[in-house]
């Protein structure tokens, strides 16, 4: 049964499903406090036996002697929300999950800050190990999110996922 604060998405009509879509994007970096509050919110859901979380952090890559200071994220938001919705639906079909949340930063995220937070919960651990890898790989390959890597000297280059 999906996480209750997603409401009973599978029982809603398509139009209602549109309204119930989550907002995945957050302005700026995702804070450790936000992450711990997300964990706390799930403590009352006592059919959960295992959580798994993934955090993508901006790395201080060095390119031609210049270090990345941060990444400026932008997105084709309407399409990205459709893509995140599809990824979530697929994950609920593939894995036995109670709950699943995806958050991605928009705007400036400095080196060392978190830009992606994925959180899955299940009665059992095997499912969350598999689900988190599936979700992160899907997000990185399919979400129309773009990143401008900013260097110390104000130059930049565009990030490409591999």
């Amino acid at each position: 049964m999906p996480c209750s604060h997603l409401l009973q998405v599978d029982k809603l009509s398509n139009m209602e499903k549109e309204k119930k879509r989550k907002n995945t994007f957050i302005d700026g970096a995702i804070s450790p406090l936000f992450i711990s509050e997300s964990i706390a919110k799930h403590q009352s859901k006592t059919s959960i036996g295992a959580h798994n979380i993934f955090m993508g952090q901006v790395r201080a890559d060095e390119i031609e002697g210049q270090k990345v200071q941060g990444i400026l994220y932008s997105a084709y938001q309407e399409m990205a929300e459709d893509v995140f919705y599809q990824i979530r639906e697929t994950a609920f079909e593939k894995f036995q999950l109670n709950c699943l949340h995806i958050y991605h930063s928009l705007g400036m995220v400095k080196t060392g800050e978190i830009c992606l937070f994925v959180f899955v919960s299940s009665p059992h651990r095997k499912e969350v190990f598999k689900a988190i890898e599936f979700l992160v790989e899907e997000i990185k390959s399919k979400a129309p999110v773009f990143g401008k890597e900013l260097f110390e000297d104000n130059s930049h280059q565009w990030k490409k996922n591999t």
Partner: protein
């Protein structure tokens, strides 16, 4: 008819705009739209772009009219 094409990321940087209008006399395919884009912006010829039509990829054979939502996307960089 006028077709509005949105640009994102490095493509918006290279073209200098976030949207551009293309004029056609009839319905065109995604591939035909790409041809028009490359005529106007030859810089993009060797660029790794994807066309999204109504927010879906693999759109080269999709039919495009004034009401169709089109976007030219650079490589993805989420996470």
């Amino acid at each position: 008819m006028e077709i509005e094409l949105k640009y994102f990321g490095q493509i918006a940087e290279l073209t200098g705009k976030e949207t551009e209008t293309y004029t056609t006399s009839e319905v065109i395919t995604g591939a035909q739209l790409i041809t028009k884009v490359l005529e106007k912006h030859p810089l993009l010829k060797d660029f790794n772009y994807q066309l999204a039509v109504n927010k879906k990829l693999n759109a080269l054979e999709e039919q495009i009219t004034t009401d169709t939502e089109c976007a030219l996307l650079p490589p993805f960089a989420g996470g």
